[in-house]
């Protein structure tokens, strides 16, 4: 007995000596991330025995998560690193709780797999504040059965919005309960269409709204055309996400992160196909990228070094491989895409995933967050304006009004 206790003590002492630095990690959305986070922490600690990763109890969603990190920041109990929504890390940056990563980044980020497009996801005012950990852009999900019933062809699938609207109208005409096309009336979807037309929501220095440009009008006009020419219904996002796997929606512009869910939902019903969002403009095309980023909060130099080790790991090829395989999100590191030894087998088994992931690598761009206190609030105004467009409001007037309202709310005028 004494011997046993003694050896237990030795083991404890040994593990305490080895686990010198503890890093507390915050993450959100356990339904997607719980298993992934545990796998990441385990894999990291296996190769870094001197660092102990402690996962905080996850927050329900990214908004909740940011709230909690801010609250803990006030109380002085903030985590050392945190996973936050790609559109929300700016809130943390604005409150001054983030540590800039410029000094930690390797001299040649490209060699580590961080392309300029991927780095742009976490940059603001010339500093690197966050690193993407998982990415998604808007793709087009297609129900091939409905396309063929409507007389379309999967081999000769339309490459532009005109062709898509024409096809959607034909699918919509198939029956009362069949919908042709659907896209969320939502800031991120609008920014995606805008980027496909080479437009930007704001000027580079964020001093003015620019989506009332010609590109913006054409992009917003698509909402009206979808509704008027292709009979797009006003159903909610949840409704559409049920309708597509159930086989009653033909074409669906949605986040590439939903692929796994749609494939599972439609299994045995039909075999869905994925296409990239049509690229309209010749240049300046980008797709706003959703997903998550990792940020550093600790100001303790020793912890920072350990935290950076962890961040390098999860944004590096090995961590990214785990994230892609368990969540279906696109990787935020180019090495995993280029080097087949990481995900070759995964893409062979999931050809649809490659479409979305390639789109990220080629056109990833920031999901613009509007600056200031009203930044999140105005995205709901954008959504409301898009609803009005689908209900017949004039494009020019609605978008110009919206741009003026935003300038006023954001204090740009």
């Amino acid at each position: 007995m004494k011997h046993l206790l003694l050896s237990a003590g030795v083991v404890l002492a040994a593990s305490a000596a080895a686990a010198e630095t503890e890093i507390r990690v915050h993450y959100a959305i356990p339904t997607i991330w719980a298993e992934t986070q545990e796998a990441l922490a385990e894999a990291f600690m296996a190769t870094h025995p001197d660092i102990k990763i402690t996962l905080d109890g996850p927050a329900e969603g990214y908004e909740d998560g940011v709230q909690r990190v801010l609250r803990e920041g006030i109380a002085g109990t903030a985590p050392d690193v945190a996973y936050v929504g790609l559109n929300l890390w700016r809130v943390l940056e604005d409150r001054g709780v983030l540590q800039p990563l410029d000094d930690f980044l390797p001299a040649d980020p490209m060699a580590a797999g961080y392309t300029p497009a991927l780095l742009s996801l976490g940059q603001y005012e010339g500093h690197q504040w966050a690193l993407g950990t998982s990415a998604s852009t808007m793709v087009l999900y297609v129900n091939p059965d409905l396309v063929e019933q409507a007389g379309g062809s999967m081999d000769d699938f339309p490459k532009d919005f005109d062709g898509i609207i024409e096809l959607a109208a034909k699918i919509d005409a198939l029956g009362d309960t069949v919908e042709g096309v659907w896209i969320g009336r939502h800031d991120w979807r609008f920014q995606s269409l805008l980027g496909a037309h080479g437009g930007r929501p704001m000027t580079e220095d964020e001093s003015d709204i620019t989506f009332d440009s010609e590109a913006g009008m054409t992009a917003a006009g698509l909402y009206k055309r979808f509704a008027e020419d292709a009979g797009m219904s006003s159903m909610s996002e949840n409704d559409a996400r049920q309708a597509f796997p159930a086989g009653t929606l033909g074409l669906f512009f949605e986040s590439s992160s939903l692929l796994k869910r749609f494939e599972e939902g439609s299994a045995g019903n039909f075999e869905l196909a994925v296409f990239g969002t049509p690229v309209v403009a010749e240049e300046n095309v980008y797709f706003p990228t959703g997903g998550s980023a990792i940020v550093m909060l600790t100001d303790d130099a020793e912890k920072q070094a350990a935290a950076w080790e962890y961040m390098t790991f999860v944004t590096g090829p090995e961590g990214q491989k785990v994230i892609v395989e368990t969540t279906g999100y696109a990787p935020a590191n180019k090495i995993v895409l280029d080097d087949e030894s990481y995900l070759g087998a995964y893409y062979a088994a999931n050809p649809n995933a490659k479409v979305g992931h390639a789109q990220v690598a080629a056109h990833a761009g920031p999901w613009y967050a509007y600056p200031g206190a009203e930044g999140v609030a105005v995205t709901d105004l954008i959504a409301a304006a898009l609803v009005e467009l689908t209900e017949g409001a004039a494009v020019e007037a609605t978008i110009s009004d919206l741009a003026d309202t935003l300038r006023m709310q954001l204090g740009m005028k």
């Binding site: 309960t177 409704d239 309708a243 206190a373 009005e388």
Partner: protein, 294 residues
């Protein structure tokens, strides 16, 4: 004497301290925050006077949320109190004839109250789905046009109100049943002697006055719950489409927890709190005058 005062203090003190620390103090903080532009996590805040309140009552969005809440409550309060009373009287009568059936129906009506609304919201969402939902399937069988129950701007608030009624009728029914059970039969006999022996006159001269206290309680509880509507909005519509189902408590949540505008959210809380306080006081004053106690 001093000893007794000490005992009283020891008995009531801890609870009072807890209430002050964890309820009154935070409420006071909210009242102060309501006059600032504080943002969650910010290091500082500016005193901006009544600007938050001006925004709430002056902006289109603020007024829209207030109006939606009033419309919602205006439908839900009378409908769920009225239906609750109707169902309770029916079941009360049925107890004498078919006690088993009455008990089963009672449970059925009470189920929505016992079930978690968030879980129920998922079922409602499926029922109301525009192309896959059971309700639209029935509508087309009956030859009616299918509706976008939760995504039509003109309809969504009424759909939510219907769900609100469905949810609260059972609770009101139980309260009314308890009220009905306490009415002494002697009163009905006496009324019968005076000629009020059936239907409307019986209800009007005995049942309704005797239910006064119950009705007062039911109306207050229903009103408070109706003005507080949140779960159905948050789970089914998120205030949309285009703010068509934005209500005051959802706006409070949205501003504070999604937009991180703690100051403005506090202002909404203050207005909401005062409005409910006023409403409750008014109801008690008005109805108490007419309530027939014992």
């Amino acid at each position: 004497m001093r000893n007794r005062a000490l005992t009283d203090l020891v008995l009531a003190g801890p609870a009072a301290l807890v209430v002050i620390l964890f309820i009154f103090l935070p409420v006071a903080v909210v009242f102060v925050l309501a006059f600032t532009d504080y943002q969650v996590g910010a290091r500082s805040a500016n005193w901006i006077g009544i600007e938050n309140f001006a925004t709430l009552f002056g902006s289109r969005q603020g007024r829209n949320a207030l109006l939606n809440t009033v419309v919602y409550a205006g439908i839900v309060i009378p409908a769920s109190v009225g239906l609750g009373l109707l169902v309770a009287m029916g079941l009360h009568r049925l107890t004498d004839i078919l006690p088993r059936l009455s008990a089963v129906l009672r449970t059925v009506y009470f189920l929505p109250v016992a079930a978690t609304l968030v879980a129920m919201a998922v079922s409602w969402q499926m029922l109301l789905h525009p192309s896959l939902g059971l309700i639209n399937t029935w509508m087309s069988v009956l030859g009616l046009a299918p509706q976008q129950w939760l995504s039509d701007r003109g309809l969504v608030l009424y759909t939510l109100a219907a769900i609100g009624i469905w949810q609260s009728v059972g609770y009101n029914m139980v309260l009314f049943l308890a009220g009905l059970a306490t009415i002494p039969t002697a009163l009905y006999d006496a009324a019968a002697v005076d000629g009020a022996d059936r239907g409307w006159s019986r209800f009007w001269t005995v049942t309704w006055p005797m239910l006064g206290p119950t009705t007062l309680f039911v109306v207050i509880v229903t009103a408070v719950n109706a003005f507080r509507v949140f779960e159905t909005v948050a789970t089914m519509t998120k205030g949309g489409p285009a703010f068509a189902s934005d209500t005051i408590v959802y706006a409070l949540y949205r501003e504070g927890f999604v937009y991180f505008k703690a100051g403005y959210a506090s202002a909404i809380t203050v207005v909401f709190f005062l409005a409910l306080l006023l409403l409750t006081a008014l109801q008690i004053m008005l109805v108490e005058r007419r309530v027939h106690y014992r």
